[in-house]
Structure formats: C-alpha cells, structure tokens
Symmetry: C2
DNA sequence: ACCTCCGATGTCAGAAGCTGACATGACTCC
DNA sequence: GGAGTCATGTCAGCTTCTGACATCGGAGGT
C-alpha cells in the first residue's frame, strides 16, 4: 500500500513489492496469484462472514432481509478499517484492472450468497436475483459510507439503500399506492421532475 | 472466435489472432487495447442503444420501467446473434479474466444508464440504484435466455425477472399483502420451505 | 547426535502481453 | 510532383506470470 501511494499502482513492479517485504518476486506469486490480488486478500473472510450470517438467519425471515442482515453484519469489520478502506478505494477506482477485480469479487460474493440462500430453501433463480440485488445495495451503501463525512456506520447506509430499492421497485405491477415505508430515506423523489 | 474454439482462449496468442486476420500483433493492439477486448467490441453499441432508449422514454414512466424498457429494446439485437452469443458465453464463463471484462462492461453500462436517468431528472443515488437493479435483471434474464430451449425472446425473460424482483422486494416495510402482479413467473415461491 | 523429510524460499529461463519509437508505403490534396 | 496523412510493419524492451530445479533450515524419528 505504501509503495502504491508513493509511485502509483502501475509504476510499482511486483519485484519492488517483493523487495519491500524482503522477498523475491517468485515468492510473491506463490502467495498471490496476481499482482492485483494483493489488494483483495480480505474478500474471502468477508464472504465467509456473509455466508454464515445468511445460514444462521431466522427461518421466517424474507430472503431480501436475510441478505440485508448479512450486509449489515459486515459493518463492524469495515468500521475497524475505515482508514484503510479510504486509501484503498481511490486506488481501485483509478485503475480499470483493479475495478475489474473488485467486480469479480463482488460477483463471487453474490454466488456464495445465492448458494447459502438455496440452502435455506430459496428457489434458484430467486436466490440469484436476491443476491444480485444485495450487491446493488452494497455498492450503493459502500459508496455513501466512504464519502460520509458524518461517519454513519455502513449498516445505516445499507438500511437506507434497501429502503430506496423498495421504493424503486414498488411500481404498478407489484403494489399500488401503499403508504411509504417507515424510516424512508430523506430523498425519496423517484420520478421525473 | 474460430481460433478460440480450436485451441481454447489461453492457448491462443495475439500473434496467432493477428496472423489469421492477415495482420501483425502490433496492429492488433492498435485496434484492441487488450487481448480480451476482441470479444467485447459490441458493448459500445449496446450502451448507446440503451442510453437513447432511456432518454426517449415517456416522461411519466417510472425509472425502473424505463430501465426495463431499455433492456427489452436490446432484445432484437440479441435475437439476431443468438448463435454467436451461445458460442461466446461458455468461453467467457470458463475464463476469469473474460468474466472480469464482462463485469466491467456491465458496470459501465450501469453508469451510462444512471447518467441517462439523471438526464430525466432522477435523483443521483436513485438513478444509480435503479441502474444496478437493471443490471441484476439483465444478468438473470440473459442467463435464462441462453439456456432457454423454448427460444423465448430476451425481452420475455426481462419481464419475468423484473416481476420476480418486484416480488422479492415487496417486503413488510414497503407493501404488505398486496395481490400478486399480473403475469407473475410460474415459480413464485420466495420464502423458506 | 544424526538423518530424513518437508515446506518455504531462491534462482533461472522463458513465454506472452503490451508499449514506445521509428520506418515504410499508399493515398489524398494542393 | 511534392507534402502531408494514415494504416501498417519492424524492432527493442519492459512487466507479468510460470515451470523446473536448487537450497536451506527446522521438525520429528531413531
């Protein structure tokens, strides 16, 4: 991370990273399959946490709420590493190859969540759709968390994003003119001006 | 594509691709920034079509329906190239680097759609969330379209996936016990067994 | 104390992806 | 006919990543 911040991601060679760690380039590649992977080692733990949170959720809970709970469960972990996340994020956003890696990690997360949902008896296509919706919520929430000067927890932003998604999809064919949800996000204007 | 099917993606070098086209490796890289990019040249046109469909949608239409309409608008184009898509898809699924590229193309699509929605006056966070939801719908629909032995159009699967998403998010806090949507997908079991 | 095995690391050579600099050749426009 | 432009070729070189083999040091058995 320090090297990346000194010289930028693409002006840092794997050899330099390895040297800074007192190792050889070859050894680096034994620990990380990729140069990119060095920035994503935490994703396995995240996935495990979310999968087990889903598996352990109350039986009666609706799938979308189960996924939201799993997202909220990651909140403390992110809170601990807010400083690190704030350094990491601009780096990733600035480099397409890193964004690609991030996206495939999220896709893998979605698959794992879908699988865990299926273990609860959720039908396959539904499970995948719910998981993808969860990722959409996560992206939205995470972005706001990073930029949040008021330092609300990630979990808060997850709740806001879920409420927003519910408003968005609460269209004509599913439910008509129902009262707005409790704790709706402040900005709730959905249509054209 | 023929080379990839003969020898597999990673056993095909850029030099070979260029030679098959009667060109040089260097020239290949002048047309495609990447080896991967050669499989994704169509994505720009797709993006343009969806953006303009969104921009031209009726003013009163809800954002989620606008996005769904944009997805449906791509249906004829995919229908024309079903054969090509069926060769391309397993190739992409089998190679992580290609999946990554596909995901970033979808993310770019989402950004473009969000931007186009903002042009209609949709609030920023909502626009992004709707666009991401649209991508989730697209992924679900596309997967089913590829595997669909009955050869329904992509547009049909888009409608099914949207209906499914509406059922999924129609939870306690947004709408309670509303009648099911018309044309609901056959499998509508959402909760645990 | 000694040996053996194993895991972590180093060394080396090399393939493939990708880039910058410059050359060539054809075609257009004056 | 000359100048400029555009597509392509040529070449050298860097970086990422891999396979094969060597080395070293520690753990455990005798």
């Amino acid at each position: 991370m320090s090297l990346f911040q000194e010289r930028g991601y693409d002006r840092t060679t794997v050899e330099e990273i390895a040297a800074r760690a007192g190792l050889t380039e070859r050894t680096f590649f034994r620990y990380f399959s990729d140069k990119r992977e060095v920035l994503f080692s935490g994703s396995k733990g995240l996935e495990a946490l979310m999968v087990s949170t889903i598996a352990d959720a109350p039986k009666a809970m609706a799938p979308i709420d189960v996924v939201a709970a799993a997202l909220e469960a990651t909140s403390p972990g992110f809170e601990e590493r807010r400083a690190h996340a704030c350094k990491r994020q601009p780096l990733i956003m600035a480099h397409a190859e890193l964004r690609e890696r991030e996206l495939i990690k999220l896709a893998s997360l979605a698959s794992a969540m879908a699988e865990s949902l299926r273990g609860r008896g959720v039908e396959k296509t539904v499970a995948h759709l719910v998981a993808e919706a969860g990722i959409a919520i996560f992206k939205s929430a995470f972005e706001r968390w990073i930029e949040d000067t008021k330092k609300h927890e990630l979990a808060h932003h997850v709740r806001v994003a879920l409420a927003e998604l519910r408003l968005i999809t609460a269209g004509a064919s599913a439910a008509s003119s129902t009262p707005p949800p409790t704790k709706a996000p402040r900005r709730s204007r959905l249509g054209p001006r």
